[in-house]
Structures are given as structure tokens and as C-alpha cells.
């Protein structure tokens, strides 16, 4: 029995339990860093590509290409976020306060996210996703400001409704299977579900799929239930925002991806129409908001909704765009982590989130400005970043499958976002700095996590190492049959 998958879940939980001991509170940030590093060490050997999936813990956990890739991604992101938090607290000890509570919750959040990705049981995966949301709520209003508490409340409401709809979809699918194979023979393990879905009652099966897609899409921040996302990302602290935008987003994406894997080619028409509609609606809403906002953190949040829309459009196509979708999802997670962490550093220095109040950042915060600039390039899908190639593959998929109207709409919306984002963010970097501004010293250690993310982002576009490339291809190959 391979214990490594279990360790990735249990280790952060042990860390969280240790932080119940008051004597260990002062070591919270070091413990966070140690657990993140150890978890990453456990994930590395798990990520070696293999020919067939292996099942652990009585079939409840699966190590396949999907779990390998996303486990590697979210744990790498977690190491960076932990390092950012560690550096931030070292630079500003006055923020330490009751940081042990935030660290404890972050560790529980991470254990649940790892569990959601590794789970081979549809209900248990759902339970782990709920745990990520329940751990995220107190993290969002950690500093107990009214705006953060309101955002946490809205996050909780939307999350409960979204995941409730997913559970309802699972119940419908279960009933559809039960009608054809009998209640005793129903199995909710992902690998068994693939076989059962094909013979399930079509009405219940389709209803289940529609509810699950809508629920997961809402949890990813897609329209129409998107309003929680900008509010939450704006009100939460940068490290918590990065956890939500990069780690939780991917855990939820795996839920959606597993659903599509389980359905195989069944009801691909329904999934295609629904994902296209949700994707285009999300992109439209995000574009309008990006054009009108004067808050750089909100702008990145709306860009995240826009990206979720692109991902939905890619998923709607099935296999022709699958590689592009996976590449885009991985790149997107790194871009969001870079931008939200940099936005936090900028906010800490300038004490404002207003775009029109910031000029000449390159003179005051050279490295943060550079990261912001490069992150914006990646956000907009410039070459040579992975997001560029992901977008190109998705667009090629739209053309080769004859979705010309969707292609046209995507092209127009991306162009507007391109112009609006560039027009808003680039003047923040260039121009004259504030009168009397002094250049801020930025240590290399503090920039470490963002450098690390940037290196991976570039590598996804320029040269992808063979094991990672194999994983990406295996994950893409597991989607649909079209």
C-alpha cells in the first residue's frame, strides 16, 4: 500500500492539530512552511507518470494523471503562498497577531483540497470540497473587518447553494443508475460510475449532469452566480485570495473535470451547450466589469471570471481542445497567484487599490512592477506563456469543430478585455512616480515565490519537461470521446 496519497491529506491536518497547542503559536509561520515543503516532497514521487491509475485506501483514493497533475500544481502553489506569508510576517511582525488561526485554517483547507483531488468517490470528493469552503470562510474574515465579514457571508451562501446543486445532481445521477441496475449494485466510485453512467436512465442522468455542471460552474465563479467572486477576492487578504483563486479553483475544476470524465461521451451535447452558454455569459459579464472598474484587485478578479469562461468554452468542445484547456488551467493558476500576491504587495505599499491613483510603480517598486507587468502579459495571453498556447489550441478547436459564432464571440470579447486591461494596468507601471517617492527595497527572498511561478509559466510555453508533458497529455486524453 502506498501511503503517500494519505500523507498529503494527513500531514496538513497534523500541522493544524499542533497549532491547537498554545505553546506552538509563535512557530505558526515556520510550521506552515515546513508542512508545505514536506507535503510537496510527498507529492513529487507521486507525480511520476504511470501507465494505469492505482487505487489506495480501499479504493477511496485514486492516483491517476488528473490527480497527479493537480496535486503537483496546488502543492507547488501552496509552497509559494506559504513562503509569501512567511516573508510578509517577517517583514511586518505587527501583522502576526493571531496568525496561528489563519495558518491552522490554511492547513485544514490544504488537506481538504488534496483530499478532493485524490478522492475516487463522488460524494467524498464533494465532502472535501465543502471542507475547503468551510475552512475558507473564517480565513476570509480573519481580520474581522465588516467588509470581509460580509464577503465571507456571501461566499458561504453562494458556496452552499453551488455545492448543494452539485449534490442534488449526484442524487439525480444515483437515482438514474438505480432505476436500471438496482439500488444494491450502485457504486459511486468514479471508475465504476464510468460504466454505470452509460446504462443509467437518460432523463435522470441528464438532469444530474445539468445540475452538476451548473453547481461546479457557479463555484468556479461563472455567471450567473458570479457576484461572490469579485467581492471575496477583493475583501480577503492577498494570501487567502491566492489560495481561493489558485488552489480552490483547481480543486473545484477537478470536480467538474471528473464529472465530464465519468460521463465520457454520454450527453456531450447537453454538456457542450451548457458550458458554452455559461462560458460566454461569464466572459460577457467579466468584460463589461473589466472595462468599468477602477480597482486593480477587482480587475484581476474579473479577469479570473473571464478565464473561467474560456475554460468552459474549451471544455464544451471535449477532446479537440482538451490539451489547450489543461495548459490554460495550469497557467492560469500560476498567473493568478503571481498577480494577487503582487497586488497585495502593491496595496501594502501604496495603501490604495485605485488604478487612477497609481503611476510610475516601476520607479518605486521595481520588481513588483515587473512582476505585475509580466503577470499582466501572461493574463492577456501573450506568447511565450502557457496561457497563449492554451488559448490558441482552444480557438483552433472552435474552428476545426465548426463553432464559428462562438469563435467570433470569443475573439471580440478577448480583444475588448485585452485593450481594457492594458489601458488600465500599464499606466500604473509607467509614468511619473508620486512626488517625493523613495524606491522600496525588495528582497530576493520575498520575490522567490513569484519567480518560481514565473519560471513554471515560462517553461509551460517554451519547454515543458517530458514528465510534465506526459501528464498534461494523459489528462487531456482522459476527457470525453468526441
Amino acid at each position: 500500500m502506498n501511503l503517500l496519497p494519505l500523507i498529503t491529506v494527513v500531514l496538513p491536518l497534523i500541522g493544524a492539530l499542533l497549532l491547537l497547542v498554545p505553546r506552538l503559536f509563535p512557530y505558526a509561520r515556520r510550521l506552515l512552511l515546513a508542512i508545505a515543503a514536506l507535503d510537496m516532497l510527498a507529492v513529487l514521487p507521486l507525480s511520476v507518470p504511470r501507465d494505469a491509475p492505482t487505487f489506495e485506501l480501499g479504493h477511496f483514493m485514486v492516483v491517476d494523471a488528473t490527480s497527479q497533475l493537480f496535486l503537483l500544481l496546488i502543492n507547488a502553489l501552496f509552497v509559494g503562498i506559504s513562503l509569501h506569508l512567511h516573508n510578509r510576517l517577517r517583514a511586518a511582525p505587527e501583522l502576526t497577531g493571531d496568525i496561528h488561526r489563519l495558518v491552522r485554517l490554511a492547513l485544514v483547507f490544504m488537506a481538504a483540497a488534496n483530499g478532493a483531488i485524490l478522492a475516487n468517490h463522488i460524494v467524498i470528493a464533494w465532502i472535501f470540497l465543502e471542507f475547503t469552503a468551510l475552512a475558507a470562510v473564517p480565513m476570509i474574515h480573519h481580520q474581522r473587518r465588516d467588509s470581509a465579514t460580509t464577503a465571507a457571508w456571501h461566499y458561504f451562501l453562494f458556496s452552499a447553494v453551488s455545492l448543494g446543486l452539485v449534490l442534488l445532481g449526484v442524487v439525480c445521477l444515483t437515482h438514474g443508475i438505480e432505476l436500471t441496475v438496482g439500488a444494491e449494485r450502485v457504486s459511486l466510485f468514479h471508475d465504476n460510475l464510468r460504466l454505470e453512467v452509460a446504462i443509467a436512465d437518460p432523463v435522470w442522468r441528464r438532469l444530474g449532469l445539468a445540475l452538476m455542471i451548473f453547481g461546479y460552474a457557479s463555484k468556479l465563479g461563472m455567471a450567473p452566480l458570479y457576484s461572490w467572486l469579485p467581492e471575496t477576492y477583493d475583501a480577503a487578504s492577498p494570501s487567502v485570495t491566492a489560495l481561493l483563486a489558485a488552489v480552490q479553483f483547481n480543486a473545484v475544476f477537478v470536480g467538474l473535470f471528473r464529472t465530464l470524465q465519468v460521463y465520457g461521451g454520454n450527453d456531450a451535447d447537453l454538456a457542450g451547450y451548457q458550458l458554452t452558454a455559461l462560458g460566454l455569459a461569464s466572459m460577457l459579464v467579466a468584460t463589461v466589469k473589466i472595462v468599468s472598474t477602477n480597482n486593480y484587485k477587482l480587475l484581476i478578479a474579473y479577469a479570473a471570471i473571464n478565464h473561467a469562461g474560456v475554460i468552459a468554452l474549451g471544455l464544451a468542445l471535449g477532446r479537440p481542445a482538451a490539451y489547450g484547456v489543461i495548459l490554460y488551467v495550469v497557467s492560469n493558476a500560476l498567473v493568478k497567484a503571481i498577480l494577487f500576491l503582487t497586488a497585495g504587495t502593491i496595496k501594502a505599499h501604496y495603501r490604495t487599490k485605485k488604478i487612477d491613483e497609481l503611476h510610475g510603480m516601476i520607479r518605486e517598486m521595481r520588481y513588483s512592477a515587473l512582476f505585475f507587468l509580466v503577470g499582466t502579459f501572461a493574463l492577456l495571453g501573450f506568447a511565450p506563456f502557457g496561457s497563449f498556447f492554451g488559448e490558441v489550441i482552444i480557438m483552433t478547436g472552435l474552428i476545426t469543430t465548426g463553432h464559428f459564432v462562438t469563435f467570433g464571440a470569443l475573439g471580440v470579447l478577448l480583444s475588448v478585455v485585452f485593450v481594457a486591461t492594458g489601458r488600465s494596468l500599464f499606466p500604473m507601471v509607467w509614468g511619473d512616480p508620486r512626488p517625493g517617492a523613495v524606491r522600496k527595497k525588495e528582497s530576493l527572498v520575498a520575490l522567490g515565490p513569484k519567480l518560481f511561478y514565473l519560471a513554471i509559466l515560462l517553461s509551460l510555453g517554451v519547454y515543458t519537461p517530458a514528465p510534465l508533458s506526459t501528464l498534461l497529455q494523459q489528462v487531456a486524453g482522459s476527457l470525453g470521446t468526441r
Partner: protein, 207 residues
């Protein structure tokens, strides 16, 4: 069985017309007790999974969640007059349309099984009315009641299927419900019970 479904349905609909948060909490209590009755009547023998579901319904959904919210509302001196949905003909008509749509939809889903039509119709009505309350309610207490109604409706949907999930999964579902109630209560306490959720300009922290 049918009378338990009728009880569940009445516990869902009556609080919409009675101007009291106590009635809404009692409605939640009756819904949970009715579902516990359904499990009891259905079960040939109580396997671990239905047993956990029964304990969840009796301990947490019928007792703990309504009691905890009631305690908080009483502590804060919330007035008993409380509308779950706006008291006007338009919203009442909308609620009636949602109920009729639910039963029409369930007739399509259930085919010739009349018992299933009632069960699915009641569960669908619960989901849609919970979403109606959630979309019209501004007070955190009302939104919390809507969320618990949604949870109960999903649980009623689950009872329609004969398959029981593994006991570990059932236990996980119970823990999720309990933690959700505690999180709900924590946030409702912070936000206030009946005031509109405050709309402050967001001001992010710097960690």
C-alpha cells in the same frame, strides 16, 4: 409515508404566510422529524448508513440547528414579526407557480409512479422555494433559514433514492451539515440577525 410528505410540505409552505421566525424554525424542525419518520418506516434493518442519517436528522436538523438559531435570535431580542418572503400578492403568486411547476416537473420525471410524483414534487418545491427565499431575503437570519431549507430539501431528494452511500460518506455529510450550521451561526452573529447585510466599500488586508 404520504402523510409525512404532507407534513413536510406544510412545514415548508405555512411559514411563508405566518409572520414569525419561530414558525420558520419550527417548520425546519418538523421537516427533519418527517424525514426521520420516512427513514424509520423505510428501513428493513438499520444499517450503519441510515442509522447515521437518522441520528443526523434527529440530533442536528430537528434539534440543534433550530435551537441554536432560536437561542441567538432570542439573545439578540429579534422581534417575532418576521416575513420569510415579502408579504405581497406578486411573491405569493410566484411561490404558488414554483410549487405547481415543481409538481408538473416531477410528474414528467416520475412517469407512472404516483408516490414518486408526490415525493419529488415536495422536494423540488423545497429547493425552489428555498432559492426564492434566498433571493428575496436581505436579513441574515432569513437567509440562514433559506439555506437550511435548501439543505433539508436536498436531504428529502436523497431519501427518494433507495441506495445508501457508504457509512463513511454519510458521516462526512453529517459533519459538513454540522460545521455549516456552526459557520452560519458564527457569521449571522457577526452580521446581526435582521439588519441588511452591511455594504461597506471593500478594503483588503495586506497579509
Amino acid at each position: 409515508m404520504t402523510f409525512l410528505l404532507v407534513a413536510w410540505f406544510l412545514a415548508l409552505c405555512l411559514p411563508l404566510f405566518i409572520r414569525s421566525w419561530r414558525a420558520a424554525l419550527t417548520g425546519l424542525r418538523i421537516q427533519a422529524l418527517a424525514m426521520a419518520g420516512m427513514i424509520w418506516l423505510h428501513a428493513d434493518h438499520l444499517a450503519p448508513s441510515p442509522l447515521i442519517a437518522l441520528a443526523d436528522l434527529l440530533l442536528f436538523r430537528a434539534f440543534f440547528a433550530p435551537w441554536y438559531l432560536k437561542r441567538m435570535a432570542t439573545e439578540r431580542g429579534v422581534q417575532s414579526a418576521f416575513d420569510l418572503i415579502p408579504a405581497n400578492l406578486f411573491v405569493w403568486t410566484l411561490a404558488a407557480v414554483l410549487v405547481m411547476t415543481s409538481f408538473g416537473f416531477s410528474a414528467t420525471l416520475a412517469g407512472e409512479y404516483s408516490r414518486s410524483i408526490t415525493h419529488l414534487g415536495v422536494a423540488c418545491s423545497g429547493v425552489l422555494l428555498a432559492l426564492l427565499i434566498l433571493s428575496t431575503q436581505r436579513a441574515p437570519l432569513g437567509q440562514a433559514i433559506a439555506l437550511l431549507t435548501l439543505e433539508n430539501s436536498i436531504a428529502l431528494f436523497e431519501l427518494h433514492a433507495h441506495h445508501h452511500v457508504e457509512w463513511m460518506a454519510q458521516l462526512g455529510l453529517t459533519v459538513v451539515y454540522l460545521l455549516s450550521v456552526l459557520t452560519l451561526a458564527l457569521l449571522v452573529r457577526r452580521l446581526g440577525m435582521v439588519d441588511d447585510a452591511p455594504e461597506h466599500p471593500a478594503d483588503s488586508a495586506i497579509l
